[in-house]
Amino acid sequence: MKKHIIPAIRLTVFCAVFFSGIYTLSILGVAQLAPNQGNGFITEVNGKRYHTNVAQGFTQNKHFWPRPSAVDYNGAGSGGSNKGPSNPDYLALVQTRIDSFLIKNPGVERKDIPAEMVTASGSGLDPHISPQAAAVQVKRVAKARNLSEAFVQKKVAELTQKPLLGTEVINVLELNLALDGLSSLK
């Protein structure tokens, strides 16, 4: 054992230099070539910066809402609810969310509410919703903005990401920015 102590220490120190230092710095260097120099994707509108990949807690009627967040959309302390599927408190919470969604979205039927709009996301920062979740909000948003439902629906369709593999999603922030941009033009 004894004769291995010195090589072990020396090797570890050099590994630290190499893997924590040189490897990290080289990735940092490559990041300077990436969009926004490795600070995450940023959308800039009217001189204001928004993190494209981080959900914002939209609550106003004129905005599309993201999925519920167990951490109140805290981008510096993300997390899920970690509630199990049979937990009575959790089920009661989901029931409350359904009721409140129905009140705030008149004209929407219970069977049309997608589960994602009443269940908390894994990170609490899920920036996306599905086309179905956007569809059940169109009526509310159109009314609040005095736009026709068909027009809002068209915007939603335009911003729906349709990847080759995986799920179809809409970035809620991008959608709301697009709609806000329209109103400011008027």
Binding site: M1, P7, A8, R10, L11, T12, F14, F19, S20, T24, I27, L28, V30, A31, G38, N39, G40, F41, Y50, H51, N53, V54, G57, F58, T59, H63, N74, G75, A76, G77, S78, G79, G80, S81, N82, K83, G84, P85, S86, P88, Y90, V94, I98, P114, A115, E116, T119, A120, S121, G122, S123, D126, P127, H128, I129, Q132, L165, G166, T167, V169
Partner: protein, 566 residues
């Protein structure tokens, strides 16, 4: 077929496509044959040997390999404890995060040097960037350590009688620089270009569209995430791991990260075939592992895409499956897929919260860790499988009345004793730990109320999962468990230590002892170990060990919850 399912199949195909040539490459590294990357890496490795004061050509026996491994791991332990206990005043702490408490530092240190990455802290608030970089170092070198041990065991399994099993440091350095580093680099670059942060600046503060202030954590995320996925480590930069949209921004990064989980564990099986020149044996091992993996994957996906029956009763639409704790850009199927990979391989990163899975998903993820060798962790996954091979050889030998032999070496009482001890250690640690925690909780539910986020069967599953994850060196969790307490930090810390080093010591000892024995050439009396029949035998042994020892505990947790819901 839905595009979600096609995504999963395409991903697995990509894994195989890359794992087979990578396995060949790793086999060449272990055999010290020339590869096309030598020109780049020979000089780098020379610097490592020079700086370490190491003679990479000096041969070691199995005991010396273990001595070298344990010594260097002890060094890591001390350095890591120092950094985590003093982060507050050490450099690279722009967010002013505090140092860890003693028990938390112990747990985190053990967790990272044992390749487990159980995280009782939350990355955004619990670590400085120096802390993250230190843990990242363990992610690299604990994985390299696992691969090095695997190299030693492969070398010992060759057809000859020897006590000279290569040089530990050399296996270690070659694994780190020639396998982990280049693949990590590629993965990290893909991540950065898809929006994963890579910066040393602190939190960003923005004003949301509705005028509220929002803080967003950043950091050297991409570099960290690449190795945590590739090294079967699993410890995320952010609290919710790869569910966080900065850590795993889109479906492409999800595929890259998910492939990284399993790439090297599968490649090592093919490396075995290359090193021993026994491709049929490698395919048999791969077949058994894949069969077990699929038997866990399919129910997980069915369970999660099927949705939660309790929500079904509320009359809402659950066409997209059980979405509590999941992210829309992945969907239920890709989340269930990841969950199976991460628990089968001892990776432990997550892209969805396992605590909120349906009982079926909870059951299969637990089983993946209980078996812990369907692909398994880097290096150690094969070591666990090796133990089951030894057991299967012995049992089949007894059944057909032949001398139990494996690769021309006789298996005798001493090896069997070691194999049995290692095989029984895993159930012992899990079941005894869970029993102790349940006993404490049941005796005084008020005092330990903060432990469990969920009542009833699911609460029991949370404790069972925590010990299973620790003992499998996995690191994922039913994160509702309030685990940053002295009890959980110390108890799971001890479990992780025992469950890492004893299952390394055991197989290395067996392989070392067998290597020194006389080589008996194959004859008509030899039990063939590269046939489907023998594969089935190994599978049966795994099934009996896992099913019989864990079934009672599983009935109290996920199985009971299943019947209460459906």
């Amino acid at each position: 077929m839905s595009s979600e399912i096609i995504g999963i199949i395409v991903m697995y195909a990509l894994v195989l496509l890359m794992a087979i040539p990578l396995g060949r490459y790793i086999g060449k590294l272990f055999n010290y044959e020339n590869t096309w990357l030598d020109r780049a890496f020979n000089p780098i490795d020379q610097i490592f040997y020079k700086m370490g004061g190491i003679d990479p050509y000096r041969q070691m026996g199995w005991k010396e390999h273990l001595a070298a491994l344990l010594t260097i791991n002890a060094v890591w332990f001390i350095i890591s404890m120092f950094v985590l206990l003093n982060m507050e005043w050490l450099p690279l702490n722009p967010d002013g995060n505090p140092s860890m408490s003693g028990d938390l530092a112990f747990n985190t240190t053990v967790s990272f040097i044992t390749n487990t990455n159980l995280q009782h802290y939350s990355g955004e608030t619990g670590l400085s960037y120096l802390g993250q970089l230190t843990l990242m170092l363990w992610q690299f070198i604990s994985a390299a350590c696992g691969m090095a041990v695997c190299g030693v065991v492969f070398t010992a399994m060759k057809e000859k009688t020897t006590t000279q099993l290569g040089n530990f440091y050399s296996f270690f350095v070659r694994s780190a620089t020639r396998v982990l580093l280049p693949i990590c680099f590629v993965a990290a670059v893909i991540l950065v270009f898809n929006g994963t942060p890579m910066t040393f600046e602190g939190k960003d503060t923005i004003t949301t569209l509705e005028g509220k202030e929002q803080q967003v954590s950043r950091g050297p995320v991409a570099a960290f995430v690449a190795i945590k996925q590739l090294g079967t480590n699993g410890g995320g930069f952010y609290g919710p791991n790869s569910a966080n949209p900065m850590e795993n921004p889109n479906y492409i990064t999800n595929i890259v990260e998910n492939i990284s989980i399993v790439l090297i564990p599968i490649a090592l099986v093919f490396a075995l075939g290359y090193v021993l020149k026994r491709r049929k044996l490698a395919w048999t091992v791969f077949g058994v592992m894949t069969l077990g993996f699929l038997l866990l994957l399919i129910p997980t996906i069915t369970g999660e895409t099927g949705g939660n029956p309790a929500l079904e009763k509320m009359g809402i639409s659950q066409t997209a499956g059980n979405l509590e704790g999941k992210e829309m850009r992945f969907g239920a199927a890709a989340s269930a897929n990841w969950a199976t990979y991460t628990t089968c391989t001892s990776n432990g990163s997550v892209n969805a919260m396992h605590d909120s899975f349906t009982p079926m998903g909870g059951l299969t993820t637990l089983l993946g860790m209980m078996v812990n060798c369907f692909y398994g962790g880097i290096g150690v996954g094969f070591l666990n499988f090796y133990i089951f091979i030894i057991l299967a050889v012995f049992i089949s030998g007894l059944m057909v009345g032949r001398t139990p032999e494996f690769l021309g070496k006789k298996i005798e009482a001493r090896e069997m004793k070691i194999a049995m001890m290692v095989a029984l250690l895993h159930p012992l640690l899990i079941l005894a730990g869970t029993a102790l925690a349940s006993h404490l909780y049941a005796g005084n539910p008020e005092a330990y109320a903060s432990w469990l986020a969920n009542p009833g069967y699911h609460g029991f599953s949370e404790m069972l999962y925590e010990f299973t994850s620790s003992s499998a060196n996995n690191g994922s969790g039913f994160e509702g468990l309030g685990d940053n307490t002295v009890f959980w930090n110390i108890a799971t810390g001890i479990v992780m230590l025992l469950a890492r080093y004893l299952p390394i010591i055991g197989p290395v000892a067996i392989a070392g002892i067998l290597a020194a024995k006389k080589y008996v050439p194959e004859s008509s009396g030899t039990l063939k170990t590269d046939t489907p029949t023998f594969g089935f035998m190994v599978f049966a042994v795994i099934f009996i060990v896992a099913a019989l020892s864990f079934f009672p505990a599983l009935t109290l947790g996920p199985i009971a919850e299943y019947f209460s819901l459906y």
